[in-house]
């Protein structure tokens, strides 16, 4: 996908997005609501026409891919929607009939953990179960590439874990996956590569470990001082946050930590909650998304 742009009238939703996903890779588009994630995904899925730019999905322009392309794709949309009056097994058997080489229906039902609900009508399933059925419908055609638009939004933590297991199972099967999410931990748990999208543009891209310069960023040292002591007493450049936590950033964490702990021992001070770390993916993300251009123009529905 190169220099993808999409406008709705005067509103620009996507302003020049580039990325490439290799076969077998898991790629996550990360961004806040309204950043342009779903618009980008729906152009790839063939639901929307782009305003300009070049897009190829499995080597085919999705705007002209038609039936042959859709036989190779699995699409899980943001909103769950399944015919309410059919049973889990019936819906999957029906949709399996649309594809040339579908996966066995019972195998797919087991894979998404709906084995005991196979003969239940869709309208009697819980929200989480319907979402799993939705994922099952996305993979029953044995696709080469699966799009997952916010697959776990609204899930409780344990449901999210089992959804991740499900996606990992697909990864082991060699399926290429493009997913959107606004959960950092989800991107970290699943993706080989992440792109952060904000205001209709990709503001950073890389692996979850290196994105936004995480691997080379300054180390943070954080702790709390007892009453009566302030950050100025420390023989290092440090500042106290409004919550009383003292923070310092360093490129030379071994030396600075030695200086700090040496000072604390000598003065007989305890450093409560002493933590040494690099910025989390979430910190990087929040910084990227907050970025200089807080333009309200980019809105996707």
């Amino acid at each position: 996908m190169r220099d993808l742009r999409k406008s709705y009238g005067d509103v620009v939703a996507v302003r020049g997005v580039d990325f490439t996903v290799s076969a077998g890779e898991v790629f996550a588009l990360l961004g806040p609501n309204g950043a342009g994630k779903t618009t980008t995904l729906e152009i790839l899925e063939g639901f929307r026409e782009r305003t300009s730019g070049e897009v190829a999905v499995l080597g085919v322009d999705p705007a002209r891919g038609g039936r042959a392309l859709r036989e190779r794709l699995g699409i899980v949309l943001q909103d769950t929607a399944v015919d309410p009056f059919l049973t889990v097994r019936e819906v999957l058997t029906r949709n399996a009939g649309y594809y040339p080489r579908p996966r066995p229906v019972l195998e797919v039902i087991d894979l998404v953990g709906l084995g005991e609900k196979a003969e239940q009508r869709v309208q009697k399933l819980s929200g989480g179960q319907q979402r799993r059925l939705d994922v099952a419908l996305g993979i029953v055609g044995n696709p080469e590439l699966v799009f997952l638009d916010e697959p776990t939004t609204g899930f409780d933590p344990s449901a999210r874990r089992s959804a991740w297991e499900l996606v990992r199972g697909l990864i082991d099967g060699g399926t290429t996956i493009v997913l959107t999410t606004h959960y950092m931990d989800e991107a970290q748990a699943l993706a080989d590569r992440v792109a952060v999208i904000a205001g209709g543009q990709i503001v950073a891209a890389g692996t979850p470990e290196t994105i936004g310069g995480r691997d080379t960023a300054a180390v943070r040292i954080r702790f709390r001082l007892p009453p009566g002591r302030s950050a100025q007493d420390i023989p290092l450049l440090a500042e106290a946050g409004p919550d009383g936590e003292v923070r310092l950033h360093t490129e030379d964490e071994v030396r600075d930590l030695h200086t700090l702990t040496g000072w604390a021992l000598e003065a007989g001070i305890e450093l409560d909650g002493l933590t040494v770390d690099r910025p989390s993916l979430e910190d990087v993300y929040l910084e990227l998304v907050a970025g200089p251009d807080d333009e309200p123009a980019a809105v996707t529905r």
Partner: protein
């Protein structure tokens, strides 16, 4: 799966959905049968002067068949498709390889199955309990039924395309339908030459009723085909198909 098998596959699941959905099974299938029993019983033994003094039920049975076909095709598709579109089911379907024409063929064929069943039940009840004589021409009846099913299915799709949301659907779909049934002579023939009869002639139901009635009419001579009525129906089929193709949407309106 080849195309024909795929349409059959769709019909199978459309049928399951139709009979399990109380909205369609009750309002579009049970309703016409209820009207049949109530009106045929009330008017048993009555005769219709305007139609050469034939028995009321010899007219009413074909009229209720026409009503039932419109109900099973127009109402059920207009409401059903609006619901499916607004809930996102249609968009989801658009992401699968199922071709649009296969989907609509499946819907149409499934409606025809319901129409055939309704017609068979209505004729059987009429013959057994209300002294109605069976149609003397079967081919014209069959042609009228198929053309009616196509016309009212196309009209159903067209109306669903123009219906903004699922909550409004039953009112937008059913209100004009019942008004139309009353002015088109479904429950009693409209006096010829009246303002109401002129008004009704612009709409398809009265023509469909005539086309279904002709093969049942003991005084009708000739083949049982009524060319003018079939022409008007075909015109409505073309117009509705145009609107449906032009304005049909797969995605919810938000």
């Amino acid at each position: 799966m080849n195309s024909v098998a795929l349409v059959g596959h769709q019909v199978r699941y459309e049928q399951k959905t139709y009979w399990r959905n109380p909205q369609s099974a009750f309002f579009t299938f049970a309703f016409p049968i209820m009207f049949l029993v109530i009106f045929a019983s009330l008017n048993k033994g009555q005769r219709i002067k305007d139609l050469g003094n034939i028995s009321f039920n010899q007219y009413y049975i074909p009229a209720i068949i026409a009503f039932g076909v419109m109900s099973a095709c127009y109402s059920s598709l207009a409401i059903g498709l609006t619901n499916r579109r607004e809930s996102g089911v249609l968009k989801r379907l658009r992401g699968t390889p199922l071709p649009a024409w296969t989907y609509f063929s499946g819907l149409l064929a499934s409606s025809v199955v319901v129409c055939v069943l309704l017609t068979a039940i209505t004729v059987t009840v009429g013959v057994l309990f209300y002294n109605v004589s069976a149609p003397h021409h079967l081919l014209p009846l069959f042609v009228a039924l198929v053309l009616g099913a196509v016309t009212f299915s196309a009209l159903g799709v067209a109306v669903s395309a123009l219906t903004p949301n699922a909550d409004a659907a039953p009112a937008i779909v059913q209100f004009p339908f019942f008004a139309l049934a009353f002015i088109s002579g479904t429950f009693f023939p409209t006096p010829k030459g009246s303002f109401i009869a002129h008004l009704a002639a612009y709409f398809p139901l009265v023509h469909f009723t005539n086309a279904v009635f002709a093969p049942f009419n003991p005084l009708q001579r000739g083949t049982g085909f009524v060319a003018h009525d079939l022409e008007v129906l075909a015109l409505w089929a073309v117009g509705s198909t145009f609107v449906a193709v032009r304005w049909f949407r797969w995605e919810p309106r938000r």
